[in-house]
């Protein structure tokens, strides 16, 4: 866990508690974390932070997770490499198809447990590294 610095992760959730729990848990595992509380804030931070992985809540007031995911994936420079994990309360075939359509890479079902979340982040980072190299 020492040499290469871990890549940045962006957590997007309008629920401050949720975002904070995820932030603290992943931060103790060494990830540089940033939190956004709305879709707009996430998009504004996107270019500055250049996250390797975005944990994106689907249900947010204003610009929802689907739209944020779509815009991030269309980013001319970062869209290709960023891995977007949708955090969703839904576990239906239809929702997964929707997630695919929008370009998401993975999803975590709510309520999630933190080890599962960490494992999901981990496998997406590995994939991201493989694709980027």
């Amino acid at each position: 866990m020492n040499n290469p610095p871990l890549p940045p992760i962006l957590v997007v959730d309008d629920n401050h508690d949720n975002a904070e729990i995820i932030r603290q848990y992943l931060e103790t595992r060494g990830y540089p974390m940033t939190v956004a509380h709305s879709g707009d804030e996430a998009l504004a931070l996107f270019e500055t932070i250049r996250p390797a992985v975005v944990l994106l809540d689907v249900m947010m007031p204003g610009r929802d997770g689907w739209e944020v995911c779509r815009m991030m994936k269309q980013h001319p420079e970062l869209g290709r490499t960023v891995r977007v994990i949708m955090v969703t309360a839904l576990d239906e075939w239809q929702d997964k198809r929707e997630a695919l359509q929008i370009g998401a890479d993975d999803y975590v079902e709510k309520p999630f447990d933190l080890p599962t979340l960490a494992a999901t982040v981990q496998r997406n980072l590995e994939m991201q590294r493989a694709v980027a190299s």
Partner: protein, 548 residues
């Protein structure tokens, strides 16, 4: 009116009175130990006022508040606290005790200073949105309004402009069959090929620009250089032919001949002449419309020609069949073959094109009959006795009186593939028909399963022996965990129902490994085998004689 909340750990009465002076505000008091947590968990907070003398509390509160874009005011009991507050770059501070007026003033100032942060945020989001509007992210080409702005001056100066409208037909088909990711990749290749072509084309003295309509068409502007005549009709025709060859070649090289055979480019053109009396944008938009219409009428003409080609193909039975192996995932042994009918004529090579044309000319049943009988011939001439033949049958074909369960000598060796994409209107009647076939020994596969939003219920309805996964689920499955999850669900479902899952379109070793790990029973795709065919009947390709 939305209420603004001042969150504070202080119970100084002056603060409450200060808040009373602020319109639409109220104070929310929490214990010092709770303050940092409340900053992030509490909604509607406009500002935080900290009175604690504990340096670590102060630091934590400020960090969290700033991370959420909330301004902080510090009530300073002494100079040490004041210095810390300044160090932490809080928006405002005041000496405690202060009178309510002073405190209200500080809160107002802190909120005003906090504002640029929020505005900057909105600005950045807006910029991201605008950038997406100016350039198509996929092709990197400017959108139309940008192109019009750029050509404005030049057009005025030279007085004329040629608009070329490139209508790419059947790109939507690629999306329908292979999924949007494939179409995106093809469009990217197309745009790169178009740009390459422009760089190579010797029109250096003229200005040539290209834009993308966000659907699947491209628009060219050609502004002739000063003193040079605009390209003549012949020059443009010649250029279009070269472009067509160039783009087609690139697509075939990168995405295979199946995809290359699917699309056509029809180019319409319009000449626009500058007139000071008419608004320039209107002139250009009219030109684009005219060029688009021209491209559509060329498309119509071409279609009529293909219908004639199809009629003669049906007469001459000019259809041959490619047999694409389906193998057992574990052993890679051949399990069966999918029959893929193709037209002998170059213009009808792709089965999708062929059936498109047949649908227009109301010849679907005739074409289906021909393709079926051609495919069935292969059971005896081409297949080993233990191998199955997978035959594509459209649900509408079951209404064809000529198509019946006695058409085949070895029904137990035939698997009928039914496309999930095609809507089945009369379900009970359809299932009745299937039952008759099933009793004769035929087996059934659901084709393109999982291509729509419809879940497993619609598949269960057909009680298939095989479930063929849609190509879009397999394409790049090794890097997408959602696809893996969907396929795993499908495998579980199939196993529960005594069916086998077939992964179609496996093109790479990584994809093969992924579907194998997921327990997919059977695999079909270029990674293992390419479709191969019996020698086609001697070509009677009239389109080749007439020059394509």
């Amino acid at each position: 009116m939305i209420e603004s909340i001042l969150l504070t750990d202080s119970d100084q009465q002056a603060i409450d009175r200060a808040v009373e002076q602020l319109d639409g505000w109220r104070a929310e008091h929490v214990a010092t130990a709770e303050l940092a947590r409340a900053v992030v968990s509490h909604g509607g907070i406009r500002a935080v006022l900290v009175a604690s003398t504990d340096p670590s509390v102060l630091r934590e509160v400020v960090e969290r508040a700033h991370a959420s874009g909330i301004p902080v005011v510090v009530s300073c009991a002494d100079d040490t606290i004041r210095r810390r507050a300044v160090e932490l770059q809080v928006e405002e501070w005041y000496r405690c005790p202060s009178d309510p007026d002073e405190i209200a003033q500080r809160i107002r100032a802190a909120v005003a200073r906090g504002l640029p942060h929020a505005t900057a945020l909105a600005d950045r989001v807006e910029r991201v949105e605008y950038e997406q509007m100016l350039h198509d992210s996929l092709t990197g080409l400017p959108t139309l309004p940008v192109m019009i702005e750029r050509s404005r001056a030049l057009f005025k100066e030279r007085g004329e402009l040629v608009v070329l409208y490139l209508n790419f037909v059947r790109y939507s088909k690629i999306e329908e069959i292979y999924g949007w990711e494939k179409l995106d990749a093809v469009l990217e290749t197309t745009a790169a090929a178009v740009r390459e072509f422009l760089d190579d084309t010797a029109m250096s003295t003229s200005r040539l620009m290209v834009s993308f309509t966000n659907d699947d068409d491209f628009i060219f502007f050609h502004v002739p250089a000063a003193g040079v005549a605009a390209a003549t009709e012949n020059e443009i025709t010649e250029m279009v032919a070269r472009l067509q060859r160039h783009v087609g070649g690139r697509i075939e090289a990168q995405h295979g001949e199946d995809i290359a055979a699917l699309f056509d480019i029809y180019v319409g053109r319009a000449h626009v002449y500058f007139s000071p009396k008419i608004r320039l944008e209107r002139l250009i938009y009219r030109g684009i419309r005219e060029a688009a219409n021209a491209s559509r009428s060329i498309e119509q003409r071409e279609r009529a020609r293909r219908v004639a080609d199809l009629r003669s193909s049906l007469r001459d039975r000019a259809v041959y069949v490619d047999y694409h192996p389906i193998v057992v995932t574990e052993t890679r042994e051949i399990f069966g073959y999918e029959a893929l009918a193709r037209g002998v004529m170059r213009s009808l090579r792709s089965p999708e094109v062929m059936f498109d044309v047949a649908a227009e000319a109301d010849l679907v049943w005739e074409l289906s009959r021909l393709c079926r009988s051609r495919a069935i011939e292969g059971i005896e001439t081409r297949l080993q006795p233990n191998e199955l033949l997978f035959l594509n049958v459209d649900p509408h074909d079951f209404s064809d009186p000529v198509f019946n369960e006695n058409e085949v000598k070895y029904p137990e060796r035939v698997v009928i593939e039914i496309t999930e994409r095609t809507a089945i209107k009369d379900y009970p009647k359809f299932r009745e028909r299937l039952k008759i076939f099933r009793e004769r020994g035929f087996r059934f596969a659901v084709d393109d399963a999982g291509s729509g939003y419809a879940g497993l219920g619609s598949i269960a309805n057909l009680e298939p022996d095989f479930i063929k996964l849609d190509i879009s689920l397999i394409n790049a499955i090794d890097t997408n965990f959602i696809k893996q999850n969907l396929v795993a669900t499908m495998v579980r479902f199939a196993t529960d129902h005594g069916a086998m899952v077939i992964a179609e379109g496996v093109e790479r070793a990584e994809e093969f490994k992924a579907v194998k790990d997921l327990g997919v029973h059977l695999v079909q795709g270029f990674f293992l085998h390419r479709p191969s065919h019996l020698p086609p009947p001697p070509p009677r390709d009239r389109s080749a004689i007439s020059g394509g």
